[in-house]
């Protein structure tokens, strides 16, 4: 029986930043706002914490100021602890060694932390797949199947994320072959969530680093399908791999479907996030709101339809906002009109202005821009 306090969590907060260049210009993939009041890392962290994991290392590479601000001491996830808890792991720069640029180097650079941890197992995840999964079930799958490495996978359209493995499985989920999928194909693609013995990860990474290998997926997984027992577990519920601004928008909008929201925010496994202590949302006398997710701190006096509003968004009188993702503290002035947009944090749209993207292809407005 694998005990939850015998598992070390590892999170790659910068993985695939380039997929969302607009949003990760000033932040990590992990600190990209999502679903009104969350950051992408909240899902990953909550999944680990909800399975009883008490020690999590967050690997960072660049732009991690917003991530540090969000995570703080880790208290929102009950990870502010004397023993274990959350460890923020910035790149370790020594002498001529520079910052890493692949997953193998990222892990190798933090080998000290990993080796010094007492846990026998490791659960490793990125932040770009939005889902709420039972890590406890995943661990039980690993144990039951007798796998060396278990990978969580999702059946559907392969995301446009480079090096995404697509699996063919035999009985019980044993991976018999795998290929790098091309975006848009249907298949059982890897969500890049791995479970294995820590000693195995250490050995694989040390060997790969010594051979100057570059690709975790190719050199550690694909190469070892014959020699290691690699199993894939199919995730049944809501899962959205974010590979572009368009899918980021679609994943947000998907939460307006009751079924998806219900699956992602199941009360069995709550998603935790940093608390901001905003007041509840306030609706004005002439407000009209349809099919929206609205966070605390919003003040709505205008018309809002099919939108995700983050904390502290203001929609003034006579303003119309449709089919948009509006991040925290943005302001839509009196009589302004927006459709099909993504507003980063603290965007100000002055009274009477109009801004519209095309349906399904939202216009992005960067943090703090005043229009």
């Amino acid at each position: 029986m694998i005990r939850s306090n015998d598992i070390l969590g590892l999170i790659h907060s910068n993985a695939y930043d380039d997929c969302l260049a607009e949003l990760t210009n000033m932040r990590t993939m992990g600190s990209v706002p999502f679903g009104g009041r969350y950051r992408l890392i909240d899902f990953t962290l909550s999944n680990m914490v909800n399975a009883g994991i008490g020690k999590v290392g967050v690997l960072t590479k660049s732009n991690y100021q917003s991530l540090m601000d969000h995570l703080g001491t880790g208290r929102a996830w009950d990870l502010a602890r004397k023993h274990g808890g959350m460890y923020l792991l910035p790149p370790f720069l020594l002498g001529e060694s520079g910052s890493f640029d692949n997953r193998i180097e990222a892990i190798k650079g933090n080998m000290n932390f990993i080796e010094r941890s007492d846990e026998e197992y490791v659960l490793m995840s990125d932040c770009n797949v939005v889902m709420n999964f039972s890590a406890a079930d995943f661990v039980a799958f690993h144990e039951k199947s007798g796998a060396d490495i278990s990978i969580l996978a999702k059946r559907g359209k392969v995301p446009a994320v480079k090096n995404t493995l697509v699996f063919s499985c035999g009985e019980g989920g044993r991976v018999t072959s795998a290929v790098f999928g091309s975006a848009g194909d249907e298949g059982l693609f890897s969500a890049n969530i791995y479970f294995m013995k820590k000693a195995l990860l250490e050995r694989l990474i040390n060997d790969a680093a010594a051979m100057k290998k570059k690709s975790f997926e190719e050199d550690l997984i694909l190469e070892n399908i014959g020699s290691l027992k690699i199993f894939a577990m199919e995730h049944q519920g809501f899962a959205y791999a974010i590979d572009s601004l368009k899918t980021y928008y679609e994943a947000n909008m998907a939460l307006l479907e009751a079924e998806n929201a219900h699956d992602l925010f199941t009360s069995k496994r709550p998603i935790y996030t940093k608390v901001r202590d905003d007041m509840p949302a306030l609706y004005g006398i002439e407000s009209s709101v349809e099919n929206c997710l609205v966070s605390d701190g919003c003040v709505i006096k205008g018309t809002v339809e099919n939108c995700i509003l983050a904390r502290g968004v203001t929609v003034e009188k006579g303003a119309v906002v449709r089919n948009s993702v509006i991040m925290q503290d943005s302001f839509i002035g009196v009589g302004a009109h927006v459709e099909n947009v993504i507003f980063d944090k603290s965007v100000v749209l002055k009274p009477g202005k109009t801004l519209c993207g095309a349906e399904g292809f939202p216009v992005f407005v960067g943090k703090g821009i005043v229009i």
Partner: protein, 410 residues
Amino acid sequence: MSKKTECIAMLLAGGQGSRLGILTKNIAKPAVPYGGKYRIIDFPLSNCVNSGIYTVGVLTQYQPLELNDYIGNGAAWDLDRESGGVHILSPYQQIKGSEWYKGTANAIYQNINFIDRYDPEYVCILSGDHIYKMDYSKMLAYHKEKNAACTIAMLEVPWEEASRFGLMMVDDNGAITAFEEKPKEPHSNKASMGVYVFTWSKLREYLLADEADENSSNDFGKDLIPAMHQAGERLFAYQFDGYWKDVGTIDSLWESNLDLLRPSVDLDLSDPSWRIYSKTAAAPPHYISAKAKVQNSMVTEGCSIAGNVDYSVLFAKVKVEEGAVVDSSIIMPGTVIKKGAVVQYAIVAENAVIEPGAVVGEKPENTPNREEWGVAVVGAGVRVGRGARVAPKAMVGEDVPAVSAEEEAK
């Protein structure tokens, strides 16, 4: 012994709040939900932290379970600290026996040892019954400036309401010259807010004297402060201008919640420089469906709204189904209002279920005899059955059986 602390706060949170009826059946009054995501005690606690008072004793007595659980280690208010922080103080056994807190002064008397541990110059006495935002540090500065033994926060109330309050006469210098306790014919409209700053050495002395006096009811307002006044101590009034409301009755609790929806009311909970902190449930943003109509209301995270909501305050995880109507009401966390049910001019406590077609409360204009009209109250966990009616001013603490269609036709 802890390190010396200039000012600590003692928060009286033991009251039953009997005028709130079933709302305080299982919880103490300070734990009563308010304003969509808060509880009453969040206001004095947040005021303390925002005023730089980081040592707070919370005196509990009546139904403390939920309150203790809510306060926890104080992290929600940044009161989980190495030195100071929040402390729950319940009555305890002593060598000479054990007794409950007999009155407000006695409650502090029984905790003299706690206060002495911090060796404070000043002690701020607060109550957990009021909604207001106040900077106690300004009041403390005033107290020091006046070299007072006791400073009482004072608010000018409308003359017609003055007889409900403890009143003070104040001279030009701010010194208190006389008291009136709920007089029929008030001579002042300066009401005490139940917020006191004492110089600890003075308070300590009068607490001991008050305890020794067998005729005393051990109450600050009735006994201890008049005794200080009689002895010629320096008592000063500190004027407060702003929103302050005692939410001790159903009507005032209802009104005060709805005050948040009135732009003219001076109670801004969105002010980032004076946040009101609370412990929040991990709930997603609330969802407003395409069939919903929400106007002039406050809605909290975790809600799911498909019906009509007007002039109401909805707490976390409230569900309003399609065709249901919520009007001029306060709906506390986790309550479900099912299809076609109507809740108007009502307070519905936590985790209640209003079944389809049920009607809770009534509009005042539809009640011929205004005397019979009042805010309806549904207690925590109560199920109001299909088609059932809860009359205005009624207070239901037990499930209300469903009314069959035939009976309804009669």
